[in-house]
């Protein structure tokens, strides 16, 4: 091979409908090398991986610009299957396994050795019967290469999580053509001891000459296992670092970027809060992909508390768990009384409200007019905007009151629409979000949870939404708990910001803290935050 690099990416860029997510990425990977990839939410990590792994999503959205040379040949994959054929394997964050199959069946999925028979001549190769002894042999070989303790006959659904991960890795290794393995957060769902074994396996794979691209939010892992580290921010490679010559703080700095200082819109107003309104004790939430593992937190009356962290670390689980949308355990004390968890109706009754991150799914009744949307929860929960007949036996909607309410909020929140009778579906994202806010405001909540309020809306609308929240907080003294992937957004509006990592609170910082401090918390450095914690 003339080329000493296995993978060369030259000026690779990608935009989704004019929205640039990757800019001139150059990445070179040698055989047997382990490259660590670090980046904040939306830095472009997953897009980069999708391009390398040939995800059809990339091809269907117009492909990418630039050149990718793999094993000496220029490639442009149309589907992941092309990438697999070329020798690129991928271990996904969520397991791509068949739970009802044994390790053997999963490792050899669609690469099963068969015994030929006559019917195959007439029909198709697929009529050959499976060669079970050979399948077992091959599975054992792949497991042996990893030097892990994995029973080839065990069903995946009965395995501990770590063994599932080994099964995935063994499947990629079993493909003889595999030259490059992409591992997207392979340790995210594992315990530390399990993760240690996976790290050993990664080194073992690399020693076999297979290159590995390793994505993790655990800096410690990246520093121990990688040959070099690539930090992505806003779709650009910020820096390539050698583990020996760097430290966690430097990586975090490149990941979150330099602080803009006085120029940024960081909230510098110091407000004093005394009364605790919401006390969360040892909260566990089972929200798929956003699990919360025993969080304790006190929320002060009248403050705006920001909740941040990387995707999948559990920040969204907190609001969803408290509001009863996902199964939760633990204790939540609201104004001295314990809230009945997993009972959304009762929690709404007590004076808590929630603007979900899933705006179009559970936030809005898309095919209903604005006024119904705004009054809906108030109608359902509080029985407002209803006319009672026969002593409450028959309840009719009070359309006049509903419309009046809607008109009031349309004016106050400056919702752009023709009239309050317009359908929610026809509004722009920003205005839909305002309708969601109005719906929550109509309940006159004492505590308002807002999740990802600016996701998918344009910059102008973002500011309006945040201003609306701030205004509402100042005017009515409503306690607001805002969850967002965008740190800057949290810093402009919050009084305190809690960073969630691996389902736990990594630390709580004032918005004026250095960006790097936040970055370190997101990457699982719990200790660093402490100095500022007890301000």
């Amino acid at each position: 091979m003339k080329d000493k690099f296995l993978l060369r990416m030259e000026n690779v860029s990608k935009d989704f409908y004019g929205n640039t997510v990757l800019k001139n990425v150059n990445l070179n990977v040698k055989p047997g090398e382990i490259v660590g990839l670090v980046g904040e939410n939306g830095a472009g990590k997953s897009t980069l991986m999708k391009i390398i792994f040939g995800s059809s999503e990339i091809y269907e959205t117009g492909g990418y610009n630039g050149k990718i040379i793999f094993a000496g040949e220029e490639v442009n994959f149309r589907s992941s299957f092309d990438a697999l054929q070329a020798g690129i394997g991928m271990v996904h964050q969520e397991f791509v396994l068949i739970p009802g199959y044994s390790a053997t069946e999963n490792i050899l999925l669609n690469t099963e050795p068969t015994r030929p028979n006559i019917l195959a001549e007439v029909f198709d190769e697929r009529v050959n019967t499976l060669d079970w002894p050979e399948m077992k042999k091959r599975a054992k070989e792949a497991i042996g290469l990893l030097e892990v303790d994995l029973d080839p006959d065990m069903l995946v659904k009965e395995m501990p999580v770590g063994h599932r991960q080994f099964t995935e890795i063994a499947r990629e290794i079993n493909r003889e053509s595999t030259k490059l393995l992409i591992m997207d957060e392979p340790t995210a769902v594992l315990t530390e001891s399990e993760a240690d074994v996976v790290l050993k396996v990664i080194k073992k794979i690399a020693s076999m000459g297979i290159a590995v691209i390793f994505i993790s939010h655990r800096l410690k892992e990246i520093l121990t296992v990688c040959d070099y580290i690539v930090v992505l921010r806003d779709g650009e490679i910020q820096k390539e670092l050698r583990p020996a010559e760097t430290n966690e703080r430097e990586i975090a700095e490149y990941m979150v970027g330099k602080d803009l200082g006085e120029k940024s819109g960081v909230n510098r107003e110091k407000r004093e809060f005394n009364e605790t309104i919401l006390k969360i004790e040892n909260l566990w939430v089972d929200m798929p992909g956003e699990q919360v593992n025993g969080i304790s937190l006190e929320v002060k009356k009248g403050e705006i508390l920001g909740i941040g962290g990387l995707t999948g670390q559990g920040k969204l689980g907190i609001a969803n768990g408290i509001m009863g949308l996902y199964p939760a355990e633990g204790r939540v004390i609201f104004k001295g009384e314990e809230l009945p968890l997993n009972n959304t109706r009762e929690i709404l009754n007590r004076g808590l409200a929630f603007v979900s991150e899933d705006r179009r799914g559970i936030g809005l009744l898309l095919d209903q007019p604005l006024n119904w949307n705004i009054a809906f929860t108030a109608m359902q929960v509080k029985g407002e905007y209803l006319k009672n007949y026969l002593g409450g036996l028959i309840k009719w909607r009070d359309d006049e009151a509903i419309s009046q309410l809607a008109r009031e909020y349309i004016e106050r929140l400056n919702i752009k629409c023709f009239s309050e009778r317009q359908y929610a579906r026809e509004l722009s994202g920003g205005n839909q979000q305002k309708v969601c806010l109005a719906k929550a405001f109509a309940l006159n909540p004492e505590v308002l949870f807002v999740s990802e309020p600016t996701r998918g809306i344009d910059i102008g609308a973002k500011k309006l939404v945040l201003d609306t929240l701030r205004l509402y907080n100042r005017e009515y003294g409503t306690t607001i708990i805002i969850t967002s992937s965008e740190l800057e957004e949290l810093r402009t509006i919050s009084d305190r910001i809690a960073i969630i990592n691996e389902g736990k609170i990594a630390g709580i910082l004032p918005p004026t803290a250095d960006r790097v401090e936040f970055g370190l918390l997101m990457l699982g450095k719990m200790e660093t935050g402490e100095g500022v914690l007890n301000e």
């Binding site: 697929r126 009529v127 019967t129 199964p327």
Partner: protein
Amino acid sequence: MKNQDSLKTVNPVKQFFINYAVPILFIIMIVFAAPMSGLSPVFLINEVMTRLTRNSFLILSLLIPVLAGMGMNFGIVMGAMAGQIGLILITDWQIVGVPGILLAMLISTPIAIVFGYFTGIVLNKARGREMVTGMMLGYFMNGIYQLLVLYGMGKIIPIRDKSILLSRGYGIRNAISLDGIRQSLDNVIKLDIMGIQIPLVTLAVIALNCLFIIWFRKTKLGQDMRTVGQDMEVARMAGIDVEKTRIISIIISTVLAAYGMIIYLQNIGTINTYNSHEQIGFFAVAALLVGGASVSRASILNVFIGVVLFHTVFIVSPRAGKELIGSAQLGEYFRVFITYGVIAFSLALYAWRNRIEAENERKKAMMLRRASLQNEAEEGGNL
């Protein structure tokens, strides 16, 4: 610790009763109704044997789509139509006996393949709603079948035998007698053991179908179907052509259903040209469910248990009804009531069970996660 109680798996006895609620219900009904009917054991066994040879092949045709995760294939109605077309043609050509049956099968094969291919394509577009879509397709294709048989035959497709045509000169009569092939497969070798008639060849054909299904499950294609049935996305990512695999499973099912219908009708001896196939889907599905199968799991054993239980109830219930209330009508009413009832009940039970299982899985996973995180925290503290 209260958490540990919920870690325990569900009581296995209770689990058994939940899983086999439908067959258990049927066994109870038989235990009560059989003595009440006053039928002799030999008569009863003979009747059950007849139903077994008549229906088993048809019901076996449902198994492969279940393997591929497509649920109960109500589309076998189309296979039944293909079989009937074959039978109508050989009746017209007056080819009798076993050769007649074989020729009918040969004619029905390409028709069933085309129907199956068409069904497969439609079902691929209606993922997750295969059963109701298959049922509706059956009704739709019934229209095409009627067009062909009621107008096409005698006009476009030449029919020489005027006795099977309507008096207006084209279109097949409501009922045709299959004198030429009546029970000719059953009668090739028929054993008589203590008054019980055993049609050996028909049973051998059914056994052959079973062997085919057992063999098929061991093939690469069978494994691929299982994979597709378990998780389409994982299958796709592993490079399996999901759509094609699903279409093949429906084609196999439709072709087997065509043969099954021919075996069914040679035993009965007449075709109700416009009705015979209509209820086939429901009765086959109900019998399989009575045998303890579910939408996602069905075995050969389920087929035979199902046929025996389902049809024994039908044989004894009219007589038991007559003895009990003085009306045999009740039995017929009972038959329809039970068929639809069983399907509705099984589907509801299946959905309910899935939900409970998912919830248990979730609880278990969460418990394990908590335990391992706590262990780690303790270990960290000890260091």
